[in-house]
Each structure stands twice: as structure tokens, then as C-alpha cells.
């Protein structure tokens, strides 16, 4: 820590801090610092303003330390991927007896068979589609839940619901809750990174990584292989001038702090400039993929010159691994961009097969490679990988189209890695894949399970906002125990 100023140094060294009550910093509000080591006494984390990203203890020892969420925007069809429905082949092009006349986008058409061939995979023999051959090879490692339900059949509210547990705007995201609870293992990088798809941001944009009413410190920082973190350097300022301004600022602030002893907020701002200075070095380093060997680029498909979107998403996946390697707590990797008639994301209303033929290769090899790479480096032992999407799709086509409408009543997500029981499939939809019928799990349960794997009790991780002890899971949620190793 020798690169810190005396003030910053004092702040970041807790033992010295606590014993330094006779110094200028001595009377920084002690209540800020008590419980620094986490959730021991209280359920709610106590945040040291000078070190918002300091690692904090979970409620109980969790199997997972870090999380990668692969978020497929636009609602991936469960019927073309993980939820095999042979009955649907028999019923192809027949009307669904007693089915809804009108769904989200309009009149319902006839039932439609899965648009890809399915085959059995690995030891478990689970049927998975040929649409995603690379991920399919990893089937044995995944814990699936086929019986998820959402509260909304509209992308915006439903992405809110998946990311924040509420379908209204303005609630904290899963990543914000996680870093609020646990801080991060790496103080030189943002604790929570959101990596948008190379084709654009997802449907509900920043709400998916927003802090809601939690402190801004816990919002996701966006960066990708294409676009680095903003404001890492001052454009047009020479290094010497930049350094001179920085040094002067340090002296100004140190003098001001001496004149205002005991103000923790002032000290915290000094520390934040020192953290920022380190971020200026570490962020470009982490985004620089030139050090990755050729075989890694190949594994992910980052060298695919024929498919630039796939290569760009592959680079995002490599970036995700590098962030996890460095101890970043929460990485959210988006696959699929904004509403575009299904052209840029998984919203296959009109020509599902044609569009999924484009989207699947962008997701498949890079995401599978990420999991393999994490595993081969031993990172999967304490990293949880989550694959999710906001809802599923209907077993019938829309009238006059070759695509499926929104279906919030039964869809599939999966997890793998730390603490996850490999090879299990929880819950079921009916034989046509329209509605969850066995072990129905509202998305609350999925989020509760993620928190559980991190050592957090979703009922105890709370934040007081306008009179309500808010939680990620509102007043609902049960851990899906079947998914746990």
C-alpha cells in the first residue's frame, strides 16, 4: 500500500485506523467502521464509506464467491433449446384445443414442432437441441429448472422482474444486491461489471444493472471488449500535467482534511481518487486481450473472421473470464440487444428459425468455451455461472407467422459451477411445453437460489426504502434445493 497517500493509507489500514484515535483521522464516525467485517452482527451489510467494495462476509459460508450471469435478452424459446417436447412433433400444425385465442402480440396460430432436432447428451442422456451443439456437450454439468414463471409477458417489466425481482422500474438489480452484500475481492476494478452484447444494449437497458435505491457504488459498470470504461483518462492532457494536477489535488484535500478532522466523508473521497488512479491502470490492462494465446481465442471463437458478432461476443466472454480471474464479484454478460423484430435478440415472433440460426452461433461456442475455460483454470470451483432469459415462448406459432409469442408461464434457465448439482432437471412443463405443471418456480425462487449459493439468505438481505425492508425477492422466494450440490 506504499502507493497511497498518508491519508488514504491510514484509512485503508483498519487496525492502524482503529488505534489511531489520537490522530486527525481518529474520530471518523466509528459506527461507520464497526462491523466492517460484514454481516456478523446485523443482517444488513455495513458499508465503510472509504471502502465500499471491501470484501464482506456472507450470512453463512457460500459455495460460490463470484457470479457470471449470461443473460439472453428477448426471451429464448425453451422449446428450441432445453425443454424437449416430442408430443409437439405429433401436434405440429394442429390447433391447440382449448388454447388461448389471443396472446401477447395477437391471434394464436397452430402448434409448431421444435424447429431443431434434439438428441440425447452425455451421461444423463438429457435431450438437448442441435441449435446449441457446444453448450449441449456440457449438459451433464448443468442444473436445469424447466418450470420457471414470470409475472409479466412484456419484455420491459419481465426483464425488470428477472434482474430486480419487481416488474416496476427502479429496484436494485441482482448484481447490485450481491456487491452491496459482499463487496469485491479486487479493489482495483469495479466490483460489478455489465458487458452489453456487441449488437447493442438489452431491452431494458441500464435497469438490468442499476442500483435502484441502493448506493450508487453498487451499480454495474458497463464495459466490453468494444467499449472500455468511460473517463479512464483525460483526453488531451499530457501525463506530466495530469500528474501535477493530481498531486496538487491530493495536497489540497489533505490540508482540508486536517482542518476538518473527523469527517469520514472527506477521507472517503480522498481514498476514492486513489482507487480511481489504480483503476486507470488496471482496467485497460484487463480489457487488453492481446495477451491471450491463439488457442484460447480459437476455443472461444474470437478468431472467427466470418462471423464478427460471434467474435465480438467471444471477446466479451474472454473479458468475463479475466474479470472473474481477478476477483470481480459479479459479471453480467448480455447476449442479445434491444427490440428489433427479433433481428438483434431472441424475440422470435415472425421467423424464429431463420433468426435463431443467426443468434445461436453467436451464443453457443463462446459461452461454452467460457464455462470450459473457467473449469480448466479451477475457477468454476468458486464461480457460479447462470444462464437466464426473461420468459419463454408459446408452443404454437402466431397466426400468419413462423414464430412464437411470449410465454411467461413455463420456461427454462440453468446454472452450473460452484455449489450447483450437476445433471439435474427440476420442474416440468406440460407435454406441449406451454405451462409449468410440476414444481412450479416463480423467478423469485431462481434468484433466492443464486443468493443462497453465495451464502446469502434472501430474506435477510434487506435495505430500508420508503418504509419497506426491501428484498430482491419481495415477500416471496424459496431456494430450489434440488439444484444444490
Amino acid at each position: 500500500m506504499s502507493y497511497l497517500s498518508p491519508a488514504g493509507h491510514t484509512l485503508l489500514d483498519r487496525r492502524r485506523f482503529l488505534s489511531s484515535s489520537s490522530t486527525a483521522l481518529g474520530s471518523i464516525a466509528l459506527t461507520n467502521m464497526l462491523g466492517l467485517d460484514g454481516l456478523l452482527a446485523a443482517d444488513r451489510p455495513i458499508i465503510d464509506p472509504a471502502r465500499p467494495y471491501a470484501p464482506r462476509q456472507p450470512h453463512f459460508p457460500g459455495k460460490a464467491k463470484n457470479v457470471v450471469v449470461i443473460f439472453c435478452a428477448g426471451a429464448v424459446s425453451q422449446l428450441e433449446t432445453w425443454d424437449y417436447k416430442p408430443e409437439l412433433i405429433k401436434w405440429d400444425d394442429k390447433p391447440l384445443p382449448g388454447g388461448p385465442a389471443v396472446t401477447f402480440q395477437g391471434p394464436a396460430g397452430n402448434l409448431a414442432r421444435p424447429q431443431y432436432a434434439f438428441r440425447q447428451r452425455g451421461q444423463t442422456g438429457k435431450w438437448v437441441s442441435d441449435m446449441i451443439p457446444h453448450l449441449a456437450e456440457l449438459t451433464d454439468d448443468f442444473a436445469f429448472v424447466h418450470s420457471l414463471t414470470s409475472k409479466s409477458n412484456t419484455h420491459g417489466p419481465a426483464e425488470n422482474f428477472l434482474s430486480t425481482g419487481f416488474n416496476l422500474d427502479g429496484f436494485p438489480s441482482l448484481g447490485a444486491w450481491t456487491t452491496y452484500a459482499l463487496g469485491s475481492e479486487n479493489q482495483d476494478l469495479p466490483s460489478y461489471v455489465a458487458i452489453p452484447d456487441p449488437r447493442g444494449v438489452p431491452q431494458n437497458g441500464a435497469n438490468n444493472w442499476g442500483p435502484g435505491f441502493l448506493p450508487a457504488a453498487f451499480q454495474g459498470t458497463t464495459m466490453s471488449s468494444k467499449a472500455p470504461v468511460r473517463h479512464l483518462a483525460a483526453p488531451g492532457v499530457s501525463p506530466a500535467t495530469d500528474q501535477a494536477a493530481r498531486t496538487l489535488l491530493q495536497r489540497m484535500n489533505a490540508r482540508h482534511l486536517e482542518a476538518h478532522p473527523g469527517d469520514g466523508k472527506l477521507a472517503a473521497r480522498i481514498a476514492s481518487y486513489e482507487l480511481a488512479a489504480r483503476m486507470q491502470l488496471s482496467v485497460p490492462e484487463i480489457s487488453d486481450l492481446s495477451t491471450e494465446p491463439a488457442h484460447i481465442l480459437k476455443l472461444y471463437g474470437a478468431d472467427d473472421t466470418q462471423n464478427p458478432d460471434k467474435a465480438a461476443f467471444a471477446k466479451n466472454c474472454i473479458l468475463a473470464r479475466r474479470l472473474i480471474e481477478k476477483g470481480v464479484r459479479f459479471v453480467q454478460l448480455f447476449n442479445g440487444a434491444y427490440a428489433s423484430g427479433g433481428k438483434l435478440n431472441w424475440d422470435g415472433h415472425n421467423a424464429l428459425k431463420d433468426q435463431y440460426d443467426v443468434h445461436a452461433p453467436i451464443l453457443d461456442q463462446p459461452a461454452a468455451a467460457l464455462i470450459r475455460d473457467l473449469k480448466s483454470r479451477g475457477l468454476l470451483d468458486d464461480t457460479l455461472v447462470v444462464w437466464c432469459t426473461e420468459f419463454g415462448r408459446m408452443p404454437f406459432f402466431q397466426k400468419g407467422a413462423k414464430g412464437r409469442d411470449h410465454n411467461p408461464d413455463g420456461f427454462t434457465c440453468w446454472m452450473t459451477g460452484a455449489g450447483v448439482k450437476p445433471g439435474v432437471s427440476c420442474g416440468e412443463t406440460d407435454e406441449l411445453g406451454q405451462k409449468a405443471v410440476k414444481d412450479i418456480h416463480p423467478l423469485y425462487d431462481f434468484n433466492a437460489t443464486i443468493l443462497h449459493l453465495l451464502g446469502l439468505d434472501h430474506e435477510r438481505l434487506t435495505f430500508e426504502h420508503n418504509g419497506v425492508q426491501r428484498r430482491l425477492t419481495n415477500v416471496e422466494g424459496h431456494v430450489i434445493k434440488q439444484m444444490l450440490a
Binding site: T154, G205, A206, N253, Y338
Partner: protein
Amino acid sequence: MKLVALILLTSSAIAAPVDFVRDVRPILQQHCYNCHGEKKQKSGLRLDIKASALKGGDKHSPDIISGKASDSPLIHFLTTDDEDELMPPKGKLSPENIATLTTWINEGAPWPDGVDLAKLEDRLDHWSFKPLSSNGGILPPVRNQGAPSTNPIDFFIDAKLTEKKLHRSPPADPTSLIRRITFDLTGLPPTPEETTAFEKEFIQDRASSIQHLVDRLLKSERYGERWAQHWLDVVRYADTHGFEVNTERPNAWPYRDYVIRAFNNDTPYDRFIKEQIVGDAMGQDAATGFLVTASVLLPGQIGKDDASKRLARQDSIDEMVMNLGQTFLGLSIGCARCHDHKFDPITAKDYYAMQAFVAGVEYADRDLHTPAAEASRAEEKQFKARLAEIDKELAQFVPMAKSGAERPMINARENSDRFTPVKTQRLRFTIKTTTNLEPCIDELEVFNTRGENVALATTGTKRKSSGDIGVAERHELRFLTDGRYGNSRSWLSNKLGQGWVELEFTQEQQVERVVWSRDRDGKFTDRLATDYQIEISDTAGHWHTVADASDRQKFDPKNKKTAKPTLSGLTADEANRAKPLIQEKAATESKIAQASNAQKAFAGTFRTPDDIHLLNRGDPEQPKEPVTPAVLSALGHVTLPKESPEQERRHVLADWIASPQNTLTARVMVNRIWQGHFGTGLVQTPSDFGRMGIKPTHPKLLDYLATEFIRSGWSVKHMHRLILLSQTYAQSSQTHDLPPPSATGSEIVNHKSKIINEGPLLDSDVRLLWRFPSRRLEAESIRDTILAVSGRLNLKMYGRGYNLFDQRGGLSGFDPIETFNAENQRRMIYAHKVRREPETVFGAFDCPDAGQSTARRIESTTPIQALNLFNSRFTLEQSEAFATRVQQEAGTDPAKQITLAYQLSLSRPPTATELADTTPLVHDHGLTALCRALFNSNEFLFVP
């Protein structure tokens, strides 16, 4: 089966009736109370109190069905084989215990009155539901360090401090004080001149100098801009609709302007409330923007299925009820949407009865009826009429077909083909390609050299075509020349991508221009002819092409701009006549945009209210009994019959809220005002005065302020004066527990104190106000202050918001605008606020995202803030502007420059040490480097 066996077993085992106290309660006590007793009521179920137990929990109520054990959920959970459902979760009860409970229920679940060991708390026994306490009239003399205070605030604060063996800090120095008060009231720093003048007056007469300062600032229009922001935070104001599409809400800003004006005018707070709820009846149309500030799904985003529509409507009414409850009453009424409130006396029925007050409000623009709006409307009409004339004249000047000049791209709205006048009786329009599907034309006009449309059916012109798709009263061949525009009066060919129409005039005409369109109303762009030709027939019957698409700009569906008139392809004479028309057209169009902007406000529309039902667990698919408007039953008795008209409902609600008898309204507002000055309210949870909220640190002070607020006629400015003129407010912010640590440090401390104060240990959060709690400026204040100091701040008030991003709403990534001009150097409250999208530099400074209400801004500190403020183009450009300003005003002497830079940014000259420290930097790296450091310094960013 198992249950039946048990029942048989029990009836033989127990002969005497089960006694609740002797047999049943001990089982519940031992196995259930832990989760369903006084401390916890999981799933809303409480089993230690008769009334609660028989009512049941949230999900399965009633859990005990008298006489029917086999139907009672309670028994189900005790006996189920499903591990996830079994109660108690730690393991099944013994068969004997289950038998006892089963028998008891079958015997009618007799539960004697008066035997319960616990008592249901009286949820009304809560301070904020009780009337304001009178303060006793006579205030004891105020004990403090300096001159005696006559301000009651000091009395209440000192009383509490004395109780805790603490005392107030010495008065703040004048420099800190003018900075503090100016930031507090206006969100901007004082100018050096204002500071000097104040310091001078302060020395002569401290009390009156502060009074003059406060009076001056309360008169400034900057005050309304600052305090409106606090209000907009609470009501989550934004200029987009939110959710995925997040489209622009172009007429939201009149509400923002209304709030600024209301604060500047010191609109009495009770009137301010009423205007926001029922301003349509009070000549304040924009004020009801309050009702519809939330995110909302637009009709196109809502599912076509009825369940989606019902859920969307419920969500949008819910936002209104939450807003009313949080903002005015400090109650989280929204909690009762799914079940009775867990802590406050608000039932689910109360919640839906509140919905019924606003069940006729729709999220939509409403025409403003202010004189200004009416004038704009009249103006717009005039401008539009003039524009139509100009367009008509300009149509003569489109480039001639086949003249060699490139003609504008085809568009769906209107295309004009001009050619050398030619005599003919027949004209044919042939379509060769379309954007998609069969071609559609809503109107075909043919003008002769006298400017008459000779195609019009009324002139007797005959039509024929290659074939039609007829849809009665929508697509018919006769609509081609009926003089009426739009898709629903159009002709549709029956051939994919092709078709022709032919006109025969009653006599030979000298024709020179054809005008045609897909949809002159601008709604449809499909089925557009992209390749076509126009031919005329000579007397011998031979066809000659007079115009076609070959010399038009290549069609590009992505190019949505309508072609601007140009001078290319015109003769010199034509160009001379067209030029002024083109200029006038542009000017008229911008006038129309301006005029149309000022006529509407996104302030809701009002219609016959929906029937409101109590919804089981908040689910619109599970309606229960109908509910009529009523205020919260625990707090009032105002109810309305079902047939009450829409506006009357809101009237009644507003009157109930804005009443001196309402125990919450005044308390909640004075607490918000207090928070605006001290950073934290007397009640630390400003939008929760319910039982889960934090109790006031100074309940009597809060009640005194609320009483005074009502007494003053609900004057917000009166409250500012009262607070700002107290000695509590004017005390130093320093922690006086230590001697000054060093000579360098002490130089910039104007007030030193050797008094040892225990405050830091006993009250580190400064809730008791033993010193003034300093705080960081809010995001908007930082931006505004940087601009004020750099000399670039544009004080233009009101109107449509300026852009922070390259788009005003929409789906995809928002790119920040990083070139700065007068318009975007206005105060940040006038920025077009995109919901959820944090401003690139200042968003990180805890700027609310307008998703949910922000009653109090969290003050967090992050490295991203540091990166933004140190490296952004905004800071760098303003640092340069600041340096330029200083050079212009201070001349070339570096010492004078540094001095002025300090005075402008920190309201004080540099110390000798600071001057010595900064001079070499300015010499080596320029004044800009110093300005950049000043903008980032803690002293600059904190209210002292």
C-alpha cells in the same frame, strides 16, 4: 386416508372435549409461536392471538375451518408428505399432537375469549397518527454559547443536547455561512462580491446580515430551481415513459416548470397539494402532471391479451397510489396491494379504496387551457395555414423530371412530378416495383397550367386500373381521385408490386404536374411504389413518358427524412422566386414546432373511473368484492358512493390530504424542508412516517414546526426563514474535539475551538446537531456550480429540456453529448431527464434514476465518481473556460489569477502556503490544471 385413521384414533383416545388452554395452546406454543407468534408472522399467520389465528395467513386464509379439520390448511400443513410444505419445517408433530388439534377443530375450534397471553398491538397507537401536540406555550430561555436565542428551534435542540450532556458548536464563520445558505437555497455558490459584502455586514450585525441574505436568496428565482429538484426526486419526475421502450414523454416539462414556479411563488403548501391532485379544476392544468409521473407501458407495448391489459392498468394505478401515499402522507400504502399492511393500519381494502379515487386517470397528454396555450394554438393554426400556402407555391419549383438534376427520393407522404406542359386528355400512372406487397395510392392529383387539379372525380374525370383489391369504404378505385387523403380512402392494386391507373379528363388539358402519395396522413409507409412511370397519350393514342423514377435519388427505406426543397434543377428565375419561400418554410416549421410544444402537458386525462375491486393477492385475475373511494379507514372517515364523478373523487381526496386535521401532511412536509437544510430529517425516513419508520429525534420540535407551518398559511418560505435564522443552523460544522493538528491546517480554519465536545463519540451521525452536518453537493449542484464558476452558466429558465444524450428516448444505448453550448449549459433541472439512464458524469453522484421515489439521496463515494469528475470532457472544458475567465478578469499576474480562482470557486483567497504551493504548478502546467484540481477538491464539493 392417513387423516381418517387419525380421526378415528383420536375420537376413541380422547373422550372429553379438547380444552384450548390445557390441550391446544401448549402445542402451538412449543411448535408454532417461533415463526407464527409475536415476533414473526411468517406468511402473515399469527397463532398466539385468537382474532389473528382465526383470520388466517396471507395465502390460505382461513387456516382453521371450524368443524372441518380435513379442509383446514393448518392440518394439511401438519400432515402433508411434501417436505417443502410440511410444518413445522424441522419435523412432523407427534401423532398425538396432530390428533389433539384435529379433534379440536372438528369440535368447532372453541377458543375462549380473554385467555390469550399476548395482546394485539394497537396499530393506531403511533405518534404520527396522533394530533399535533401543542408545545406548551411558554418556552424556557435558550442556553447556548453566544447571544441568547429567541428561536424556538434552538430551545428544542438544546434541550435534547443537554439531556445527552452535549452542547452546540460555536457559530460558523461568515464565509462558511454564506456558502452554506446560498447552496442550500439556490444550489449555487455565492459570487466573490456577494461574499465580501456579506462578510462586511456580518461583522457589523450578525443577525441582520443573515436575515438580509436569506431574504435576498428567497426572492431569487434560483431558489425555485433548487427546491423543485427535491420535489421532483420524491415524485420520480422524468421526460421519458420508462420500461423497455423508454420513449420520449415530450410534454412532461410543464409540470417541472409548474413546480419551480410554485416554490418561487411560495404557493401555500395545502394549495400546492390540491393543485397537483385536481389542478384541472383550479386553473393549474400542468400541476396534475404529479398524478402521472411514473413509468408506464404505452398501449403498443401492452400485450393484446386481456390479462396483460388488466395487469398494465393495475400497475399504472398502483404507481399513482404509491406516489400519493409516499409523497404527501409519508406512508407506504402500496404495501397493501397484495395483503394487509404488515405494520401499519392499512388494509388491502383501504388500498383499493384509495385506487378508486384515481381510477379515472389516464397517463396521457392533456390540452392546456392557459391564455398562453390558447394563444399558441391560434398561432399554430395560422402558421399551418401559411405553410400549406408555401408548400403549394413551392410545389411549382420541384426540379423538372428529365432535366438532368437529381430529384428527391420517393417518400410515402407526398411526391411531385413536374414536367414541361403538355396537352393531353389521358394520363397513365404505372407502378413497376413496391417496397412490399401490392401497391397502394391514397391520392393522385394532376395539375394543369392554371393550377387546377383536373384528376378530381368531381370534374368528371374517369378512372380505370389494372385491377383492384376492394375493401369497402377503405380501398376502392374511386378513392384514388376523391380529394380525400389517408389509408382509409385509398386505392389498392391486386397485383404484387405492380399495377396501373389511367385517367381520362372530360376535355384536353394542358398538364404540367402530378402529385401522388401512399398516405398523406403519414401513418403508413408500406406498399410504396419505388419504381413507376407517368405517361400521357397523344391524340393518335401513343403513350409518351413524361416522368419516371430513374432521375430520383435511390430509394433507401432507412432514410426517413422528408426531402427538403432545393434549388437544383431550377432555372435562375425559378430559383430567385423559390429561395425566399424555402427560407420562410423553414422558419414557419420551427414556429409551428414551438407553438405546438406549449399547448399540451403530460398531466393525465380524466374519464369515467374503472370499477375497482379488491384483488386477491394483488392479482387482477382474482377480483373479489367491489370497492368505492374511501380514505384510509384508520385515519379518516371520508367515503364516496360508487357513482361519484371522476373530478369530485380527486377533489375529496385532495381536501382530506391538505387539511390541518390530517396528522401526517404538515409533519411530512416540514420534515422534508428540515432535511433539505440539514441533510437528514428529524424523521430519518422522510417517506415513511409509519410504524416501520424511524421515530423523530425531536418529536416536539417536529410538531412545533408543523403547527407553525399551518399557522403561517402553509408557507414554505416561512419555514426556511425560521430554520435558517436559528443558531442551530448557523453553528460551525467542525468537529471540535481536537486542537488544530498543524499550522498549515489551522491557516484555513477561521474558527478554532479548544472546547472538548463528546459529540463525535456520543452522536457520530450528528443527529442531535451538536454541529452543523456538512455534506457533499448533489449531482445537479456540482454541475451547476462548475458552470457558474467557469462563467458559462446560462440562466435561461423553463421550457423544453435540453439534451444530455444524442436521443431523447428510445431503446438502445444513449451516447452522451460532449460538446457544450449555451443551451446545454443551463441548470441541470432543465435537462431532458431520460429515465434510468444516468447522466454520464454526474449520474454516478447518486442522481436518482426516476424509477422509484427518492425521498432522500444517498451520498455514496466511488472511484467512478472520481474518474468522471477528474477526466470527463465536461470538467476539462469547464476548467479551460474557468481559466480563461480568470485570465480575463485578473490580468496576467499569476498571484492575482490564483487568488481570483480561489475566490470564485471556494469563496476565499488562498493562504500563503496555498499560493506558494500552486504558483509553480500554474507556471509549469497552466492555470487550467489548477482549475481542474479546484473542481475536484473536497472544499469545493462540500457544503461547509
